[in-house]
């Protein structure tokens, strides 16, 4: 797993992808921070939570090549014929993308320190918000990775992932549009983006954490199955 992780992580920075994603995060974080700071209520957790929209639109770039590129360049042959498990391949790739995503929040640590040096802050609120965002990112990366398994073209997987992410974002809106109450309830429950709101309001539910972790695990599992299935078709 560590070999795949190291390679993938480095690859994000030998191609422009890592820089594009981080630049987008840093730009929007800086912007929010400057607004909050000049507005006089610098709650960094608000900046962190605001990144959910950026995450939804930027993550497809991060995940589009996770699996599709290997297949297109036939490098998957070296991975699959190596004496490691498919799960290790998927986990290595997942954590590499996750690490890049997590790096996107490094400035918020600096912001928090700057603010804390001037006024008293609720550090716990910031940590909860950060935790919630990381879980959301993990879930979206996991979904993106699975979609990337389905196609040989990074562009196709990026577009598909973006569509899915936007659906995730507006899912609760769809729920209110559906008249049949039990369907609407299911959609409401499946709209996991709502679960991040609790983190933003400093509410830490074990159920929310488990919810996100199970989404991550489910799509990791599907990715591995999809790699495995290719061997049998």
């Amino acid at each position: 797993m560590s070999a795949v992780f190291k390679r993938e992580f480095r690859a994000y920075f030998t191609t422009p992808i890592g820089y594009i994603v981080l630049a987008a995060f840093y730009f929007f974080l800086g912007w929010y921070f400057s607004m909050l700071y000049s507005g006089g209520s610098p709650q960094i957790e608000m900046a962190v939570m605001a990144m959910s929209i950026v995450t939804i639109f930027i993550l497809p770039i991060l995940t589009m090549r996770m699996m599709s590129d290997d297949r297109r360049q036939k490098v998957d042959q070296v991975l699959i014929t190596a004496p490691i498990k498919l799960t290790s391949i998927a986990l290595g790739k997942f954590f590499a993308a996750f690490a890049v995503f997590a790096m996107g929040f490094i400035p918020t640590v600096i912001f928090e320190i700057i603010v804390a040096s001037k006024i008293s802050v609720n550090v716990l609120a910031y940590i909860y918000a950060l935790f919630g965002m990381l879980l959301l990112g993990g879930a979206l990366i996991s979904i993106g990775m699975f979609i990337s398994c389905l196609s040989e073209s990074p562009v196709v997987s990026a577009i598909l992932t973006l569509v899915v992410n936007i659906l995730v974002l507006y899912m609760s809106n769809f729920a209110s549009m559906v008249n049949i109450s039990w369907i609407s309830k299911i959609i409401e429950k499946a709209a996991f983006i709502n679960a991040t709101d609790n983190f933003g309001q400093s509410v830490l539910n074990i159920s929310d954490i488990i919810y996100f972790l199970s989404i991550i695990a489910a799509f990791l599992f599907l990715s591995v199955r999809s790699l495995e299935k290719r061997r049998w078709s």
Binding site: A11, T14, K74, V75, D76, V78, W232
Partner: protein, 338 residues
């Protein structure tokens, strides 16, 4: 070392590999020969665990590839048809990655140095794979297979797309590695298999149609005793003249391949050496003998005959020497026409 029994692979309705059995001893170098789409690459992909089989069993050094994939894969170095390279990595960086991926136990730097030296890529080791020529990429792919010094090497068309000098280098490398590795290689370049492999497995339409030493295959299929003569003469009269030479069983003309000269296939009676007699006869008629050679089939011709023959013909070809004469002449003729 490698044991394959009852191996089949089905893609939808297409049966790509059909009930293939073979066994490779430790230290053997064998060649897979077959036209495009014969199933060579599919068999190799199954042996290395990249694809699964529909039916059958593959064992590498006693480890079943489906039951103990990690142990089996540990023993294999695989160079697929298209070298599996991360083009945005540097050569050395890539080999280090492969080293980590394969969980190799040798000292890292020394081992990678050794592999790099073996395939002669010292001068490009710090360049991006993206910027390398086809020949160098192929060698990096080769190096990748050698990392970890696996006992079994499976090489899918290792010299395709290389220039003649590189082909010779790679071929020499395979010959050297063959001394202490078990190697399966596939190729379209038949001379390569002839040069490197002792044993040849010919595959067509997913089936093994021949499994023998290159020499035996060639002998089985060609009538060793027949001669090929090129004579400056008049076709009809020379045909008559040659037929009456003592010890000649039959003569047939292949037509004219060179201006003014005709080619003849002369088949002697069993065990007779008729070369001198043929020479005398030609000279006595006042004609010029331009060449007189053994009419043995090259592996290439053997290959063409086997892959073009249908099942019944195959039985005849591989089972009995004598009955092949008729078909052989037509094949030779066809080739001469080409």
């Amino acid at each position: 070392m490698i044991s394959v029994t009852g191996l089949s692979k089905r893609y939808g309705t297409h049966l790509a590999v059909n009930d293939v059995d073979f066994y490779v001893e430790k230290g053997e170098v064998i060649g897979f020969l077959g036209p495009n789409g014969a199933g060579k690459s599919t068999i190799m992909n199954i042996l290395t665990g990249y694809l699964s089989m529909t039916r059958g069993k593959v064992e590498i050094d006693g480890y079943d590839i489906t039951e103990y994939p990690e142990q089996a894969k540990q023993r294999i170095g695989y160079l697929p048809e298209i070298p599996p390279l991360y083009i945005d990595m540097k050569v050395r960086e890539y080999l280090n990655f492969i080293y980590d991926l394969k969980k190799v136990k040798f000292p890292k730097k020394a081992h990678i140095d050794e592999v790099i030296k073996l395939v002669k890529i010292e001068n490009v080791q710090n360049r991006l794979i993206k910027n390398l020529s086809k020949g160098y990429r192929q060698r990096v792919g080769f190096a990748q297979a050698l990392v970890g010094n696996p006992d079994v090497l499976i090489l899918d068309e290792p010299t395709v797309g290389l220039d003649p000098k590189q082909i010779i280098e790679i071929r020499n490398l395979i010959a050297r590695l063959g001394k202490n590795h078990t190697i399966i290689l596939s190729s379209h370049i038949l001379s390569e298999i002839q040069a490197v492999c002792k044993r040849v497995i010919i595959i067509n339409r997913g089936k093994i149609i021949a499994d023998d030493t290159a020499e035996n295959l060639s002998n089985k299929l060609s009538n060793e005793r027949s001669l090929l003569a090129r004579i400056v003469c008049d076709e009809e009269s020379m045909l008559e003249a040659l037929k009456t030479v003592e010890g000649v069983k039959s003569v047939s003309s292949l037509g004219s391949a060179e201006k003014g000269a005709f080619d003849f296939v002369i088949e002697p009676l069993d065990g007779k050496d008729i070369r001198a007699a043929v020479f005398e006869r030609v000279v006595s008629r006042g004609k010029t003998l331009l060449s007189l050679t053994d009419n043995t089939l090259s592996l290439e011709q053997v290959f063409l005959r086997l892959t073009e023959a249908d099942d019944d013909e195959l039985k005849i070809i591989l089972g009995n020497n004598e009955e092949t004469t008729a078909t052989e002449e037509t094949t030779v003729q066809e080739e001469a026409e080409q």
